[in-house]
Symmetry: D2
Subunit: 209 residues, 4 copies
């Protein structure tokens, strides 16, 4: 099985990367082949007018979308890593998803067939100290996964602001790792129906610097 | 530590009870004292006009609210169990929460001080096969916990329709049990900041009766 | 046409009543027959266990639900008035909706056929000064209307706390009245597809008492 | 007063443009100066790594953001027009909003002071025939306006798929026009507190081609 980790942030060494990296590490313990892609290295344009493409018979936007989309389609599992910006996913992650429509415009059935059942997890660091601050990001991503009939295996969110912060949160790193083991393993995924969530709420010690 | 499990359904032997019971079992392994309360046995009236109560200087509604509220205030941890009805919590669970306002009306500071930091988990069975079907129930309950500054430790949701269904879902039962161990233990709760969720999506076998 | 206004609050002279009353006044100008029902005068129990009812072949809860439900079914248009409590509708409004299931349990097709296309509007006063504070109440009610395929004509929300406050907000009263005219008239409702919302945000004058 | 209309779609002749154009027409009747900007003509890059910019002391991304942001800051009212893609705003509209952070990074107080109280409306065409399909787009945009303390005057959504469709929906065009009059006028905006929404639900005639 191949697992692809999408770092949908423009920081290559930030909290999104830390989470995605740790999930990949967990997946590797089960012998999975892994790959990490930095959106910071790619140019993913917004969806275009479509009419030019319809005439041409194929998407005519020239950028890194097709290469990335093909990598994702070849993978068995996708880690969608995105920071929370303005209550939603980063614009670069949104652009990637918007462009799925380019594939659907020319091969709706084929694209859906390839996405259906594809495993995925969501990894979201955010500055907002309220866990509920990410509710609409989760809704947007999860309803998209639902629409595409993907196998949505779970998610991790961490409160982190400075780019190194997640890297020092050993408990969340441990759980990101476990999420990676879970997606590689999927031991119980198809045997039950529901979800279980564990929350964490750091209480800063008095006088902590 | 004392853990109280609220079965906010009018079925005493349904899926809400199954989840709450299993969470309590998990908590017991850590030596917790537990109690289960069935809303089906209680009369919790809606919030009233307030003006009669203001004159009297105390809430004048005579029902089982005060007894239940006192039990909750004496507990260290509360399991809020409610089925999903019309995208929200059951009316009896909502009535219980609405009545908190009766306490806040006469002793806002004191009530908040007692609720602040109180541990809680949420258990929600639902018929809707989409996990996203419970998003607004979660939002309502979680924002209420957030407002009261409770220590919200996690949640479990299961897709179940017939009243015995959760009782046969061994994987979800195992995770409900683990959620109980987690709330009794809270080993990592205050050491980190975020959440981790594991999803399950049963695929019915072909030809299953 | 008959318009029924549901005051889903336990205050008979509060902001919910003010909004519902004004909407009914608007409807009357178009010659509609109107009726107002105070939930404060009624006992609407939560949904029960169902098994006793299934044996009996009919809902066995004895309270005011059947009378109210019949009134609603005989009306062409329903005004759902509810205050915002804990990010959702009042427990009494929720109890009314939860009990629809009692009708669906015994006559699913018949009940749905009667609700389908029934006109409705939503009226929500709230203390939260952020208009977004009611988002999950709106979602719960609107998705329920959508599920029942009702003709959802519009909504009004007002920021009001003290029970007389809406009654002094002449602009919002004017718009509640117009919403009543709109639902009685429905001039354009079936000719288009979408919604238009006008917001109001009072800025308190300096030194205002 | 100057009103700027943002067409956050890559189609210059689509439904987003139709709505924005009609709102501007309404504003013009009150003597407002208007301008329309097509995101299709601009390059708005995602937010970058920040560290290069922090060293430089200014945002170092070279694209059309600064020009557009300055236009918006010079305007008294902004029309945010965006299609609904995957339950959220278009990636180009999201990119524009994400980049606000670039201004906040270097002049947080100054940027907020300029945005505070700035009037805005939201215009959203979508293919989803359920009005609730746009709920998370609305939440994301409206919470952003709320965070920036903008004067959010209202919104219009229309169900439209083919690019000419809104242009033939005379009722919705009339209401978009009225929204433009409303934002230019704001007669009652600061006198009240709440919102009023009118819904439309086209029922296609039998046998309609």
């Amino acid at each position: 099985m191949k697992v692809i980790g999408l770092v949908g942030s423009n920081r290559k060494d930030g909290n999104t990367n830390t989470l995605v990296e740790k999930i990949l590490e967990g997946a590797k313990t089960k012998g999975q082949e892994t790959e990490k892609v930095f959106f910071a290295d790619l140019k993913i344009s917004p969806i275009g007018d479509c009419s030019a493409c319809r005439k041409a018979g194929h998407c005519s936007i020239e950028d890194d979308f097709d290469g990335l989309m093909d990598k994702v389609l070849e993978s068995d599992c996708v880690i969608f890593g995105t920071p929370l910006y303005w209550y939603g996913p980063s614009s670069q992650m949104k652009a990637f998803m918007d462009r799925w429509v380019c594939r659907m415009a020319f091969d709706d059935e084929g694209f859906r067939a390839k996405m259906k059942g594809k495993k995925c997890v969501l990894a979201v660091p955010h500055q907002d100290t309220r866990l509920s601050g990410a509710e609409h990001l989760f809704a947007i991503m999860e309803k998209t996964f639902e629409f595409m009939e993907m196998a949505y295996l779970g998610r991790i969110q961490t409160v982190a602001w400075r780019r190194w912060e997640s890297g020092q949160d050993e408990v969340m790193l441990k759980h990101a790792f476990e999420l990676g083991v879970w997606l590689a393993d999927m031991e119980d995924f198809k045997k039950a129906s529901g979800s279980v969530t564990f929350n964490f709420a750091r209480v800063e010690a008095e006088g902590q610097s």
